[in-house]
């Protein structure tokens, strides 16, 4: 299959079932809302080393937030509910509450919830105040900058982690531009984030290593500088490879993001667009690129 003359590999992205949540952070102005959102979603590229995966989903206008201030929605993902609660409590407590003028709200209406603000409230040392508005409980925590408002519980749901596409280009500039195009289009899809820096993975990994103390190492089959030394999956003219990892709140959202990303990345100078998998034995969801492009998952 080809998209705009670019070859699309007949393969699949192997993804995993994860728990996800959406956190809304607001602040007095965009500068502080963005600062808090970036801090909260920073160092959250892969659960393997970061404990959580996160990214900014969308910028929100004052009309879109519950307190009428500018904000951002952030998606967080972990493998287990307990770890999501634990990691979220740390991140909200250390990066959002500490950022000037911020407030933090649940952005995912779901039956299943985890208590976050309900735990962070104890920071108020007995001076915290509960407010219950239409079955949503909030906590007002007195802080040095004034008051920090946080919702007691955040909705969680089963989501998908590890959807991906791999873009193989003739040179670094072309491959990177194609990846940037893809990320830009993927960001239009609601319910997905690309947790790596700028949404792009420059150093994708394989789940093995020659060293016994490492669980993962550089994805040698896709490293262009050693393609003569290894069993490479790259053609001779391949100059750079970038991967985009997608976490989403639903299978449909991840598939939609992959579809848009592939189409946007199909530009001259790209040799092939493929996806990463482990043979299908590890993941819980396989996203077949040809199926996605045919729109099979749209229905």
């Amino acid at each position: 299959m080809q998209v705009k003359g670019i070859n699309i590999a007949d393969t699949f992205a192997e993804a995993f079932s994860m728990y996800g949540t959406r956190v809304i952070v607001t602040a007095e102005n965009d500068k502080w809302a963005k600062t808090a959102a970036r801090e909260a979603s920073g160092f959250a590229t892969s659960i393997i080393e970061c404990g959580i995966e996160a990214g900014i989903e969308k910028k929100l206008s004052p009309e879109e937030t519950i307190d009428g201030r500018p904000g951002y929605s952030i998606l967080f993902f972990t493998m287990k509910k307990d770890s999501l609660k634990k990691e979220l409590r740390k991140r909200v407590g250390q990066t959002i509450m500490t950022a000037a003028t911020t407030a933090c709200f649940n952005g995912l209406q779901s039956e299943e919830k985890i208590k976050v603000g309900g735990d962070i409230r104890y920071f108020g040392d007995g001076f915290q105040i509960s407010k219950l508005y239409a079955d949503r409980r909030f906590w007002r925590i007195p802080i040095m900058g004034g008051e920090f408002l946080i919702e007691e519980s955040f909705g969680i749901q089963k989501g998908i982690g590890g959807g991906n596409i791999i873009i193989i280009g003739e040179d670094q500039k072309t491959a990177l531009q194609a990846a940037e195009n893809a990320v830009e289009k993927m960001r239009e899809v609601k319910g997905v984030v690309m947790p790596f820096p700028g949404g792009i993975v420059s150093s994708g990994s394989k789940i093995e290593s020659k060293y016994s103390f490492l669980n993962a190492s550089t994805n040698t089959a896709f490293c262009p500088t050693i393609k003569g030394q290894t069993e490479s999956k790259l053609k001779n003219n391949a100059g750079a490879v970038y991967e985009i990892v997608i976490d989403g709140l639903s299978t449909e959202a991840v598939a939609q993001a992959m579809k848009r990303g592939i189409k946007a990345a199909a530009v001259p100078g790209i040799i092939e667009i493929t996806a990463g998998n482990y043979g299908g034995d590890l993941g819980t969801e396989n996203f077949y690129l040809h199926e996605i492009l045919r729109g099979d998952l749209d229905e």
Binding site: I66, D67, G68, R69, T101, A103, F127, I129, S130, K131, L132, Y133, A134, R136, F138, R140, G146, E147, L149
Partner: protein
Amino acid sequence: MSKLRLKLKEDNPALIKRDNEVIGKVPVEAENINPDLIKDLNLEDLKNLELLVGKKTYKFKDFFEIAGEPAPEIEIYGDLSNFKYIGAAMTSGKIIVDGNTGMHTASEMKGGKIEIRGNTGDWLGAEMTGGFIKIYGDAGHYVGAAFRGDKLGMNRGLIYIKGNAGNFTANKMRRGEIIINGNCGDLLAAQMIAGSVYVFGKCGSRVGAGMKRGTIILSDDIKLLPTFNYNISYNPNFLNTAYNHLEDDYSIKIPDYLKSGNYARYTGDNTELGKGEILIWEKE
């Protein structure tokens, strides 16, 4: 969706007459005006539903011209200011009264909505635990309060009064929200335990006397009890969330001036726990 329409007969058994002139009304115990009860009845049973008038028992058909069919939504037309307990303990459905109602309207209400397009008496929404009450006119004393000897007043739900409210509003209130667009009598939120009360008009004396926790938001200055401490003049962000919630979830219009500017924050009552707060909007 079907509705039940009840029109109060001009000549009904509750009227006290002398020489064919109405000189008063006997209170009517009307707790049977409740969607939970009415929605499952057939028309004949509805007509024979009882209403206690003094020591005598009458039937719905003696009081009302009945139209429509038994349904979770009930519209009532007429001056029901001598009807007590309308919507008391209701859990769902909707009552609209195009007129006044008497004491205990929606007391112990658990859910649903009641809308009074006139005035209402004392004990409106007393000890309610859920639902939405909207009064277009004035309410009497003890709005959302605890009954005599009880420990907890209103505990969840929302009461919106477009007019004025009497004394002891929100007495011993535990949870929920009361919004008074007009003025309020003395002892607002006395012995309040938690919840939120908003008064957009003027207040009587002794606001928050004996309150433990909870928030009172006032748009007009008051003479505070000496057992409250001043903390700060600031613009509390949580009020944005609160005001948006009232406008979006209940279509309650918040005066624009309250959405900006500073509020003086007082905490007390120090004769009690001292964790209650009174926020007073500061005129420029």
